[in-house]
């Protein structure tokens, strides 16, 4: 029953929540994000406890280069915006638009990840390895866990785009795109906290 392609005239106003499965998925995903919040909160707490533990290695203010991180931040924030455009397209029944904006989102995500890898390589060159100090371990764990989430999001959305490139919008795939975008926003919000707590506080004291 669930797999009819929706044409514009019969499209329910919120296809992602039109079926019980869709509503379950939607709600379950919100709960999952609640758990993820605790997960990151634990990492932030650990980082805050250890960021002074630089021993002989370099500390935050010697490493962080704010303009560069600001660029990363802007790229990720923009990707959140493009994912919103994707959902707007979905609600208008514009499936092509949905796919196109999701693709842009993925590309921005890849750019962000590329910059992050570059950033880590730089830091290692400047003497901060994963095992250099407690600060190093905590920093790479927190920021790296976020990066792993970005990578997972990229893989997930790419899978959706390829899998459903020809199917049109259905009551089955609408919740999938919707939850993927929810996840993407979540990653973005976490990054805003990383930007403030790790980088801004790292430089400002």
């Amino acid at each position: 029953m669930a797999d009819h392609t929706i044409d514009h005239n019969t499209l329910p106003p919120n296809p992602e929540k039109a079926t019980l499965e869709g509503r379950n998925k939607f709600m379950g995903f919100w709960f999952f994000l609640g758990g993820e919040t605790v997960l990151f909160a634990s990492l932030f707490g650990t980082y805050l406890g250890l960021r002074g533990g630089t021993v002989d290695g370099p500390g935050p203010s010697e490493l962080f280069h704010l303009p560069f991180v600001f660029l990363m931040t802007m790229i990720l924030l923009t990707s959140s915006l493009t994912s919103v455009f994707a959902i707007i397209s979905m609600k208008r029944g514009n499936y092509k638009g949905l796919l196109a904006w999701m693709t842009v989102t993925v590309l921005l995500g890849v750019a962000f990840l590329g910059l992050e890898i570059y950033e880590f390589v730089e830091y290692v060159d400047h003497g901060l390895g994963f095992t250099t100090s407690a600060f190093g371990s905590a920093f790479y764990t927190l920021v790296g866990t976020h990066g792993a989430h970005v990578a997972f999001g990229i893989a997930w959305i790419t899978t959706l785009i390829i899998r459903y490139r020809k199917s049109g919008l259905t009551l089955t795939n609408a919740p999938k795109f919707y939850t993927a975008v929810l996840y993407w926003h979540f990653i973005d919000v976490v990054w805003v906290f990383i930007f403030s707590i790790v980088y801004l506080m790292g430089i400002g004291g």
Binding site: M1, G35, R163, T172
Partner: protein, 614 residues
């Protein structure tokens, strides 16, 4: 029959691929019972070693491993899965649903738990089990040689993921799948308390996930969070562990509270006294459960202000708990009480658990805690709440729901022998431990010296442990000898109040031929006394949609199982195993995500046939 599809394959395949919440519930119960027996055996070995002073039954290292594995097994692999088994089987029935919200994830949760449990126990055979206590404090754990702790970390990580998935599944099931008319404030108390426990799981387990991740990275990849010489800090582990660990004890006790709230009214032939007070007390306990973790850390030097705050917050939990105790007592008051085995366990719970609560408040007195901490007094406290609360709850629930789940009643005569032996054994074992602690016997020691006044009480304690073991064996025997007490009626206790007692026995795979219409709390009770004793239907008879089984949950779990060995033996050059394992897991997840599966329908005439034959 209705599962024409499944029957073409073997029964084994059917169980391995099932997404039916009832079968998953039974698998949780079986696996949990197995681990319960294993944990019990570990405890008996420890008690033998402590039977006499300076006894040499076990080497100290083995004792430490038994101690760690006993605690870890009982909490993660016995108590939680047994509760999950009951929750899985009963919650959908109590809310009038045909299945859970995420049948596939439900099965995944089970297999993750099982593979995690197996992983943990493999450590015994390959160089020694973990030996740093179930709390795995660093640096003891981070510096512990061998691979025991690595098995602890990865075993709990895998099974913890399963628990988290299970928790989310229960939450969404309870919110979205309730039958028409069942508002939140008409839900049975077992469903309510499982709901709150699931919230606790959701917000507590991620802290453990991170703690375990850090410990793994520290041990396997040489991170330095806990290495003070490298700028690290050992207290962070304690915080992470107890931010998880204290809610965890409420994750265990709340569903048990729910069981008592079902059993006591049924066998007092009354409705539960103070339903809404019970609900709010449960919510408050859940909330406060997150505010008190540092009462496990009074002696690490947090300072008098922090200690006082956490002491007061901890004592506050006694208030909602007391409300619940009084509600149970008032439910019994004036009731027509039947002393079935299930009810005996519930009645014994009340005084036993109160004693555990009282010692809890004593421990929460932060100044006095310096005297109690890390002594047998703590051991006595948590066994009074966990055995006197959770385990008695599990046995009450088992006797109560056994006919619903397995289609026969457990023998009452053996049940009563089991009950009395177990109860006496329990108090014999742990009552004296209060005094052992007060006169200074530290916990987690492999032996003690003669002539310190510890001998007699330790001997008594061991005798009690043997009584509990004998009692449990009687229970297991009665499972097999009671098989002929077949039950065919819908409501075998006669005074059932809730929806699980409105459907045929054995439970049909679709649970409800027609979704029931709920008109009050205690839906069935209401129909018995205000209606014609039968549930009204909320929908006409029709085809019923069912989800398909899948083997993927096992594949996903197996992948993580294999990957874990890659991490454990990273230093030995097996990192590639981690890659292989993760590839299997993500590959299976990928297959799941691109393959749409819309389930199948049970045709209406099959359902009417079944109804006719009831």
């Amino acid at each position: 029959m209705s599962y024409a599809k499944a029957q073409s394959k073997s029964t084994l395949w059917d169980w391995l691929t099932t997404v039916d919440h009832k079968k998953i519930g039974i698998m949780y119960l079986v696996a949990g019972a197995f681990f319960f027996a294993l944990g019990g055996l570990e405890a008996i070995l420890m008690r033998i070693q402590l039977m006499f002073p300076e006894f040499t039954f076990l080497p100290a290292q083995t004792f430490n491993e038994l101690l760690t594995m006993h605690g870890t097994t009982m909490i993660f692999l016995a108590a939680m899965p047994l509760l999950f088994g009951l929750m899985n089987y009963i919650i959908p029935l109590q809310i009038g649903a045909r299945d859970v919200a995420f049948p596939f994830l439900n099965s995944l949760g089970f297999w993750l738990f099982l593979f995690g449990g197996i992983l943990l126990n493999i450590s015994w055979f390959v160089g020694g089990a973990p030996d740093a206590g179930w709390t795995a404090y660093v640096p003891l754990s981070s510096e512990s040689p061998g691979t025991g702790i690595d098995y602890y970390v990865l075993g709990l990580q895998v099974s913890g993921a399963g628990t988290l998935i299970g928790g989310i599944n229960f939450l969404v099931t309870i919110i979205n799948m309730r039958a028409p008319g069942m508002s939140m404030m008409r839900m049975p108390l077992f469903t309510w308390s499982s709901f709150v426990a699931s919230i606790l799981i959701l917000f507590a387990f991620p802290a453990l996930t991170i703690g375990l991740l850090l410990l793994m990275l520290e041990r396997v990849f040489d991170a330095t969070y806990f290495n003070v010489g490298m700028g690290g800090n050992v207290i962070i582990w304690q915080h992470l562990f107890w931010i998880f660990g204290h809610p965890e004890v409420y994750i265990l006790i709340l569903p048990a509270f729910g069981i008592f709230s079902e059993v006591i009214p049924t066998f007092a032939k009354k409705r539960l006294f103070g339903y809404s007070a019970m609900v709010f007390a449960t919510l408050i306990i859940g909330f406060l459960g997150f505010m008190v973790w540092a009462h496990h850390m009074f002696t690490v030097g947090m300072g008098p202000v922090a200690n006082s705050i956490f002491a007061v917050a901890t004592m506050a939990i006694a208030v909602p708990t007391g409300i619940k105790i009084f509600n149970w007592l008032l439910t019994l008051w004036g009731g027509r009480i039947r002393f079935t085995t299930a009810n005996l366990f519930a009645l014994a719970f009340i005084p036993s658990f109160v004693m555990g609560g009282v010692t809890g408040v004593m421990l929460a007195t932060s100044a006095a805690n310096y005297q109690f901490h890390d002594t047998y007094f703590v051991v006595a406290h948590f066994h009074y709440v966990i055995i006197g609360g959770v385990v008695l709850g599990l046995f009450a629930g088992a006797y109560y729901w056994w006919p619903r789940i397995f289609g026969y009643k457990l023998d009452e005569k053996l049940g009563k022998i089991f009950f009395w032996l177990f109860l006496i054994g329990f108090h014999l074992t742990f009552f004296v431990q209060h005094f052992l602690g007060l006169i200074g016997m530290p916990r987690r020691v492999a032996s003690y010296l003669d002539g310190q006044g510890l001998n007699a009480m330790n001997l008594i304690s061991t005798i009690g442990a043997f009584l509990m073991a004998v009692a449990f064996i009687i229970f297991v025997v009665s499972i097999f000898t009671s098989r002929n007490n077949k039950v065919t009626e819908e409501d075998p206790w006669g005074d059932g109040r809730t929806l699980e007692w409105t459907i045929p026995t054995p439970t049909p795979e679709y649970n409800f031929a027609q979704t029931p219409l709920v008109r009050d709390v205690d839906a069935l009770w209401y129909e018995k006394y205000e209606g014609d004793g039968k549930m009204k239907a909320a929908e006409p008879l029709g085809d019923i949609h069912m989800p398909n089984g899948s083997i993927l949950p096992i594949v996903i779990s197996l992948g993580l199982f294999i990957a874990s060995f890659g991490f454990i033996y990273h230093h030995a050059g097996f990192t590639w195993l981690a890659v292989v394992g993760l590839a299997i897991t993500f590959g299976a997840m990928f297959v799941r995500s691109i393959k749409e599966d819309h389930g199948y329908h049970i045709p209406v005439d099959e359902i009417t046939n079944n109804k006719g034959g009831e």
